[in-house]
């Protein structure tokens, strides 16, 4: 198992957000996390990343066999966790190019990876300063591609993005996760590529649009800080699109009764 989350409970600002989360993600697996606003999806990602303001009340996070529950953020990054923020802050005076070099290494040809993301236009602007929704996401993906993480956490990659940008972003995510139909020059078939796939992904989505571009392997539904459902992501998405989260609430109630 690449990532194991055991009995995890997390609070923020004195409020219990996550209660008793159990989740495992295997290598090469792309998992989509569905759930209504405020159900704790982002809290889970922030807890895996180890960001401040999120207090682990109980449970464990294990990555690549190592207990990372209490280690600092940058050490998690060194171990291979990377995150795409939904609303990253502006960092004045630091250009996207400089930040991408900090994520990868000094010799990195930023222009080359920027080309595929059509990011050249904002490479020399301050990070996120007056960026459009699409530019923010492309800048985030650029940093992740430079970082080459072993586990990719994506927080609402499609939010605030127009249709044209979603396709571009979907393609970049597929590249990160060795998914979809890509051009490879090493002579291996796509099937062979997909079986060698190593890097797992955990994607948060509110709308599910990103699934039109990224073929996920498994879906999970979050309600009130715990997992209420798991299964085929496309099937789950179809239900959510048709019924909203009403159907999920039914299972949530049953789940609560079981606990009581």
């Amino acid at each position: 198992m690449m990532l194991q989350i055991k009995d995890l409970a997390v609070s923020t600002n004195g409020q219990n957000i996550l209660k008793n989360i159990n989740l495992e993600i295997d290598k090469g697996e792309t998992v989509v996390l569905f759930g209504p606003n405020g159900c704790g999806k982002t809290t889970l990602l922030m807890s895996i990343m180890g960001l401040g303001g999120y207090k682990i009340e109980k449970g464990k996070i294990i990555f690549k066999g190592k207990d990372i529950t209490n280690i600092p953020v940058y050490e998690r990054v060194k171990l291979g966790i990377g995150i795409m923020f939904q609303r990253p802050p502006t960092v004045n005076g630091v250009t996207v190019r400089q930040l991408v070099k900090l994520c990868g290494d000094e010799d990195l040809d930023v222009g080359e990876i920027a080309g595929t993301l059509r990011a050249n236009s904002f490479l020399d602007r301050s990070v996120n300063d007056g960026f459009s929704g699409g530019e923010i996401k492309r800048s985030e993906l650029l940093q992740l591609i430079a970082q080459e993480p072993d586990l990719v956490l994506l927080d609402e990659p499609e939010s605030g993005v127009d249709v044209e940008n979603i396709a571009l972003i979907g393609k970049a995510i597929n590249k990160l996760l060795d998914k979809g139909v890509m051009k490879y020059s090493n002579g291996l078939s796509l099937k062979e590529h997909h079986t060698r796939r190593y890097r797992p992904g955990l994607i948060i989505t509110h709308t599910g649009y990103i699934l039109d571009y990224v073929p996920a392997d498994r879906g999970i539904v979050f309600m009130n800080g715990h997992v209420v459902c798991g299964g085929n992501p496309f099937e789950i998405l179809n239900i959510i699109r048709d019924k909203g989260f009403e159907e999920c609430k039914k299972c949530d109630k049953k789940h609560k009764r079981q606990i009581q």
Binding site: M49, L51, G52, P72, V73, Y74, V77, K78, I83, F85, P88, P89, T90, V91, N92, G93, V94, Q98, L99, L102, C103, S126, Q143, Q147
Partner: protein
């Protein structure tokens, strides 16, 4: 708890009478720069003055009241000590005390009444300096008051780059003062880039007084950097843009450690059509007190001005007080300002940590970004200076 009360001008007057006035005239002239001590060279280097560099058009060094070196290599650019220039050119009196009045304050008065020395730099019409002309104003003797009077003239269509590094020997025991009057004339379509780096010392009080006049199509760019300790420095240069299309840019980078007091402003008067200006300052304190001022006065239709003051207060009990002023005196002016004083945002630190940086390195990157004003023609040594200041800030942030 008692409120901390803010004084609008925290820099006290210098008690000049307590300092030794008639001193510092006896330092010998040094034709050969290699005879200058390694320690002095090192101090000068931290103020941007490089005596070994080939990339300087000329060098002027004034130690206390003695001009100890004055040499220019480039034709078309003239560099003389003002005492020599006043004898050589009778017409220089037309430039002497014309942009500033001697009775402006006690410091200009002192400069007027004492035998002030300084440099005279002139770029002849159409001449362009390939490399900066560097000047070093150096304080050596205990208790000395250095009185300086400089004249800069950029004739029509010329381009002049000047780098002034101000420093002292490492004797921090006694009080010393530097009073500097500079009058800068930028003629039609000429361009002057004037970079000043202060690397004084903990017991030194500094009062530069600068007047600038820019004619039609001319450009004046000022870069001021003060990131090393100083007892106090107070200045508020004034630029008058008197010709159509004239431009003035002022950039300041200020870092105040505990014990340092800085009151730094820039004033620009837009007197003609289509003149424009931008005043940008970045102030950071780790315990010192900074007053950052800016004034833009629009007196002609179609003039434009923007004022930007950003302050960062880190732990250490320091203070940043910004006073941006805009004065539109006719219709058709466009003046704006933005000012912000704050702290290093936690979410920015965490964002960078999520990219693999330690907390300390993340702070370093943010501070570096904050101080990164686009400085035109900033010599590499100054970038190194700013880097070393950032390293110090990183340490003190913990």
């Amino acid at each position: 708890m008692r409120q901390k009360t803010q004084k609008t001008n925290p820099v006290k007057e210098i008690l000049l009478e307590n300092l030794v006035e008639e001193k510092g005239y006896e330092h010998p002239y040094q034709e050969d720069l290699s005879l200058i001590s390694q320690e002095d060279k090192e101090r000068m280097l931290h103020a941007g003055v490089n005596l070994n560099s080939k990339e300087r058009s000329g060098t002027f060094i004034m130690k206390d009241q003695s001009v100890i070196h004055c040499n220019i290599k480039q034709p078309g650019i003239e560099l003389l000590s003002t005492s020599v220039a006043l004898e050589k050119y009778d017409s220089l009196k037309n430039y002497w005390w014309k942009l500033l009045l001697p009775d402006t304050d006690r410091y200009t008065e002192h400069v007027k009444n004492h035998d002030a020395r300084g440099y005279f730099i002139r770029a002849k019409a159409g001449a362009k300096s390939y490399f900066p002309v560097q000047s070093c104003l150096f304080l050596e003797d205990p208790g000395v008051v250095q009185s300086v009077h400089n004249i800069i003239i950029a004739e029509e269509g010329s381009e002049l780059e000047i780098l002034t590094g101000c420093t002292s020997n490492e004797n921090s025991e006694t009080s010393r003062a530097h009073l500097g009057v500079s009058e800068i004339y930028v003629y039609k379509n000429a361009k002057v880039t004037y970079s000043m780096i202060h690397n004084w010392g903990e017991n030194i009080q500094v009062r530069p007084r600068t007047g600038i006049i820019v004619e039609e199509g001319g450009t004046f760019i000022s870069n001021y950097i003060c990131i090393r300790p100083v007892k106090d420095v107070q200045m508020d240069p004034i630029a008058r843009l008197v010709g159509k299309g004239a431009t003035a840019l002022f950039n300041s980078i200020l870092v105040a450690e505990p014990g340092s007091m800085m009151d730094i402003g820039s004033r620009v008067i837009l007197e003609e059509e289509d003149t424009k200006t931008e005043i940008v300052s970045r102030a950071l304190t780790t315990g010192g007190v900074i007053t950052a001022r800016g004034l833009i006065r629009g007196q002609a239709a179609g003039c434009k001005g923007h004022l930007e003051c950003q302050g960062l207060v880190l732990d250490g009990g320091g203070q940043i007080y910004t006073i941006p002023e805009l004065d539109g005196m006719v219709s058709g002016v466009e003046l704006s300002h933005e000012a912000a004083v704050g702290k290093i945002a936690q979410d920015e630190i965490e964002y960078l940590m999520a990219r693999g940086l330690s907390e300390q390195d993340a702070i370093g990157v943010i501070v570096r970004g904050f101080l990164n004003v686009e400085i035109v023609g900033l010599p590499p040594i100054l970038k190194k200076e700013i880097e070393s200041a950032i390293d110090k800030i990183k340490e003190s942030a913990f």
